[in-house]
Amino acid sequence: MKLLKIDSLHKTFKKHKVSAVDGASFSIFKGEVLGLVGESGCGKTTLAKLILRLIDADKGSIFYKDKDLLKISHSDMRKTRKSLQIIFQDPYASLDPRMRIGEVIEEVYDIHKNVTGREKKNKAIELLETVGLGEVYLQRLSSELSGGERQRVGIARALATDPEFIICDEPVSSLDISIQAQILNLLIDLQKRKNLTYLFISHDLGVIGSICDRVMVMQSGKFVESGSCETIFRNPKHEYTKTLLKSALLS
């Protein structure tokens, strides 16, 4: 079943005349992990933000369950975002340094107004336990946490609204390799348990290969190749994919 259908999505940053996303068309199926790989600056994160309407697209369409996300009102979009979430790249920048971890998670419920009072705290504890942290973290500040722990908080926050689809924007690229494996395990486990759908963005082909079902290779705003992980890794067609595979440090 198609969860999201994206058709010829365009975004140009006018000031710099950069076509960050240049005609992206693809579908994401329910329950799959779709990888998006490419160098810095090729438009991966812009695409992620376009899908969630965190920035506005110039043209194109994004269908989520028969609704064109680009045509619905802001309040409808806010409701829809309950099921479309994102885990950001840099866990040092994506948590408010002045908020306690409990507040970070409870804020999600304040925005969506679906859970109130005491229930919020219980939910937050439950989420922290899901991601391998415990109740003790409620009162901590993000500065007291290590990179891995912060990223777990980021994951808990994304899970707070019980989403169907999560964009993972380089969730492990700033972590040590041992912590990276822990976080990948957590993401794989959550995906299987909750039947989540991921759009997994990374520049590390090792990471992509270990978690994704399908991969799309992006270069300067365009998809140059896409296919199952098997095909892309075993039998790359496009020159750029070959270069990426050659430079990747695959053991």
């Binding site: 891995g148 990276q180 822990q182 395990n185 957590l186 486990d189 590390d204 090792g206 290969g209 270990s210």
Partner: protein, 323 residues
């Protein structure tokens, strides 16, 4: 032996973060030093050039470079070594280049002979693959991409024709394709100039692709040391095994990683006995008695674990993995 580190201990205030490191680097050899953030690997690198200020860091042990103990040298003698015989490339090129001087000026500063400066600089730029900026004397660091900045840093490091270069996570901030280019550049320079390299990184994959010998550091000590081939084919310390099992790859598709649980201990609260005990999958009671010594396993291969011989057999096959 170009560099010999003997029983190096470094303490910040009263907390020892490097707790007796032994490491040798031969002429023309690349030694990789691997470990998690905060295991003391950067401190080892900084100690080699005595860059840790005496008022914060208490250093003991010996660092013999060309048979002189660096830790005993006076500032004048150090000046003749730092940047000339031993140079350092830091992790983030953008924060280690000076933003208010041009790249040309910064490379010129490193040159010993001040004749034919522009020819010398052009040669350096060419050797690090920065042909594009040859002759462009007014290029500032911010005008370069991350990869080019790191090339400029490497250019500065080799400008004085050093015999040892310390590279502290030189590719961590870079993209995969650029990472590969920088690694190829370093290997090329190493062969051409017969450089010795101390390569510090947390990523085994990078170190595997460049180092001849590898030391794995945990909680301020080396827990396994050996040639690259030995470490890849028969890792013997549970920590090394955990690190290797954490490498993501296509072959491990959709399987859970056999991860090292928990996180590295704080230096102020190190556990008794083996420091890896709380996170170790193979632990037994004996591990708590005392911290194991670095034992010979075979030629050029040492491990700090009392179970070394049994561990390889007990390493779990991939399909039996769980969180």
């Amino acid at each position: 032996m170009l560099l010999q580190i003997k029983n190096l201990k470094v303490g910040y205030r009263n907390i020892e973060v490097v707790r007796g490191v032994e490491l040798n680097i031969d002429k023309g050899e690349c030694v990789g030093l691997i470990g998690e953030s905060g295991c003391g690997k950067t401190t080892v690198g900084l100690s080699v050039t005595k860059l840790i200020p005496e008022r914060i860091g208490m250093t003991s042990g010996e660092i013999l470079f060309e048979d002189k103990n660096i830790l005993k040298l006076n500032p004048e003698e150090l000046r003749n070594i730092r940047g000339k015989k031993i140079s350092y490339v830091f992790q983030e090129p953008f924060s280690s280049l000076n933003p208010v001087f041009t790249v040309y000026e910064q490379i010129r500063e490193m040159l010993e002979k001040k004749n034919n400066i522009y020819i010398q600089i052009a040669e350096i730029l060419k050797s690090v693959g920065l042909e594009k900026i040859i002759g462009r004397k007014n290029v500032y660091p911010h005008e370069l991409s991350g990869g080019m900045q790191q090339r400029a840093m490497i250019g500065m490091a080799i400008a004085s024709k050093p015999s040892l270069v310390i590279l502290d996570e030189p590719t961590t901030a870079l993209d995969v394709t650029i990472q590969r280019q920088i690694l190829d550049l370093i290997t090329g320079l190493k062969n051409k100039m017969n450089l010795s390299i101390l390569f510090i990184s947390h990523d085994l994959r990078i170190v595997f692709s460049i180092a001849d010998k590898i030391g794995i550091m945990y909680a301020g000590k080396i827990v396994e040391y050996g040639t690259k081939e030995k470490i890849i084919s028969s890792p013997s310390h549970p920590y090394t095994i955990g690190l290797i099992d954490s490498i993501p790859s296509f072959e491990h598709r959709k399987q859970l990683f056999n991860v090292i649980g928990g996180k590295a201990p704080l230096f102020s609260e190190l556990p008794k006995g083996c420091k890896f005990y709380p996170r170790c999958r193979f632990r037994i009671k004996e591990c708590l008695k005392k911290e194991p010594e670095l034992k010979d396993i075979s030629a050029d291969h040492f491990s700090r674990c009392i179970l070394t011989s049994e561990i390889a057999a007990r390493r779990l096959p991939k399909q039996n993995r769980s969180i």
